[in-house]
């Protein structure tokens, strides 16, 4: 913690109280919004506040994901603070798979949390590229049969060890957008 800064803890109760109260209705609204976004043709622009995006079609999102090796995973950790961590991953069907040892990622997955996963390729100079976000439920693979099948994917763990587990994210929403310099990210 840097000196002289407001404590994050004081903001957390308000943050989560409002999130929980609105959760049921909000999930439905958000799902509709993402479905609308998914219906957009590649390159099409949605109108209205917050929707000025160049959407990428779901099939293309999966192609982009399949060609990437590094993504970023976001979830809540104990105490409620959000984190983003890079993971190397692979695509298996229409799921995201990564390996992890004991730690916050495994804990989140064992609780079957809803997580966000993002992969992108953005050129720093031109600030152009793409970004795909998957929102879905994480789970730890416990079946030996499934483990053996995933072993064949050749996914390399960050740090090799006997406790490496497979985590699978089953998407609820997949949304991609093209990033243009003119959009100022």
């Amino acid at each position: 913690m840097l000196g002289g800064m407001p404590s994050i803890a004081q903001f957390v109760p308000r943050f989560f109280a409002s999130a929980i109260v609105n959760a049921g209705r909000a999930v439905l609204e958000e799902t509709e919004r993402w479905e609308q976004r998914d219906r957009l043709a590649p390159g099409a622009r949605a109108d209205g506040p917050g929707q000025a995006i160049d959407a990428i079609a779901p099939d293309e999102c999966w192609e982009l994901l399949a060609g990437a090796e590094i993504g970023r995973l976001s979830f809540g950790v104990h105490g409620g603070l959000p984190v983003i961590v890079p993971v190397n991953f692979t695509v298996d069907g229409e799921t995201i798979v990564f390996r992890t040892g004991r730690g916050p990622k495994l804990t989140a997955a064992s609780r079957r949390e809803i997580v966000a996963f993002e992969a992108d390729a953005i050129d720093v100079e031109s600030r152009t590229g793409w970004s795909v976000v998957v929102i879905g439920q994480a789970r730890v693979v416990t079946s030996e049969t499934e483990r053996r099948r995933l072993d064949a994917l050749g996914l390399r763990p960050w740090v090799a060890g006997p406790r490496d587990e497979y985590v699978v994210i089953t998407p609820r929403n997949v949304a991609g957008r093209l990033v243009h310099a003119s959009q100022d990210l």
């Binding site: 994050i8 903001f11 917050g50 976001s74 984190v83 983003i84």
Partner: protein, 138 residues
């Protein structure tokens, strides 16, 4: 492959040297990650701009967020990442905005004129280095 922690000073230096990061927010009870173009203002504040009233603007009003910057080899076996947890809030048309406006590249006509500041609460970082066995392809 091994991980080494970065010091707070090293983490701040990484933030200052880069311009693209990813912010994690909660939007209508669901998590989201958005890449943003950012600049530092002072030692402890990250500033970026977004569309007024958009998803990101709505999700960054006095809210705890995570912000990440990294530079990783394509296979993830070397590089570094820095994670910030902080409180996001909207900036208005004050001197602060004018001061940072020139540093957070703009998009004329795109209307992305909502400035958002993240006050850094916690900052951590790590370096990933290949171990000999990793280099050998194990």
């Amino acid at each position: 492959m091994s991980f080494t922690s970065l010091t707070q000073t090293e983490c701040m230096a990484k933030l200052a040297q880069h311009s693209i990061g990813r912010i994690a927010v909660t939007s209508r009870a669901l998590p989201a990650i958005v890449p943003v173009n950012y600049a530092m203002t002072g030692r402890t504040t990250i500033v970026f701009r977004t569309e007024p009233g958009g998803m990101l603007a709505r999700a960054t009003e006095d809210t705890v967020v995570a912000f990440e910057v990294d530079e990783l080899a394509r296979d993830g076996r070397s590089g570094w990442s820095v994670l910030v947890v902080g409180v996001a809030h909207h900036l208005d048309g004050s001197d602060v905005v004018r001061a940072v406006a020139s540093r957070v590249s703009s998009a004329v006509g795109e209307g992305r004129d909502q400035f958002v500041a993240i006050t850094i609460g916690q900052i951590t970082g790590r370096v990933v280095e290949p171990t000999p066995s990793a280099l050998a392809g194990v």
